[in-house]
């Protein structure tokens, strides 16, 4: 699947796997792929958020969820305990997003799969998807983002 991915996109996926490991998660989800894509400063500028903001927002969502079930852990930073490198499978949502990435590239008759194609697929995700929740919490207008990404020709 990754043969047609441009180097920058393969990096984004690899960064996504790293983010999953950093957070102590067992599978690579759409939220991790989003974090992976945001590691590139240019792509982050397109979305209007930094990778740091996104990581902090993910931590904040975790904290809020715990408070909602009555657990207050104070300064909760899951990224403080990285797992050792594991063979991390993708969640079904992440696999879907990667397939959509290919579909977008094909529709564009483009030969290279760029991080923008991946970002577009992630911006299409809907609740309760993790990337959708993260983008919503960061107040990103995904409809506007999708328009911008679709109208952008290399």
């Amino acid at each position: 699947m990754f043969e047609r991915f441009a180097g920058s996109t393969r990096n984004a996926v690899r960064f996504g796997v790293e983010e999953a490991q950093r957070r102590g998660d067992r599978r690579v989800g759409t939220d991790h792929l989003l974090l992976g894509v945001l590691r590139d400063a240019d792509t982050a500028a397109l979305v209007g958020v930094s990778i740091d903001d996104a990581r902090k927002t993910a931590d904040s969502l975790d904290r809020k969820a715990l408070v909602a079930i009555g657990i207050d852990v104070g300064d909760f930073r899951p990224s403080a305990a990285p797992r050792k490198a594991i063979r991390a499978p993708f969640t079904s949502g992440a696999r879907s997003a990667l397939q959509r990435t290919l579909a977008h590239t094909t529709a564009e008759k483009s030969r290279r799969i760029t991080p923008k194609h991946l970002l577009l697929a992630l911006a299409e995700r809907e609740r309760p998807d993790a990337a959708a929740a993260l983008l919503a919490e960061m107040k990103v207008d995904t409809a506007e983002l999708r328009r911008r990404l679709s109208g952008d020709r290399p």
């Binding site: 957070r23 809020k64 305990a81 797992r83 050792k84």
Partner: protein, 66 residues
């Protein structure tokens, strides 16, 4: 589990509740990593650490060993 906590859990929507489960797993990973390291510093064997966690020596070693 207290009645308070039960009420809390029941009043949460599943998106939040399931997110909390994920967060608990991450928290458990964090606490485990920290205390496995501390245990090793204090001279615990992988077997003793495995017993404390309720897993095999091999799996702890595979996860944290060099």
């Amino acid at each position: 589990m207290t009645d308070d906590m039960l009420a809390h859990i029941r009043s949460t929507d599943p998106a939040t509740g399931l997110r909390a489960v994920g967060a608990l797993h991450r928290l458990a990973e964090q606490v485990e990593a920290m205390h496995v390291a501390l245990a090793r510093q204090e001279g615990w064997s992988w077997e003793q650490i495995g017993d404390a966690l309720g897993v095999s020596r091999q799996s702890v070693h595979a996860k944290y060993g060099k």
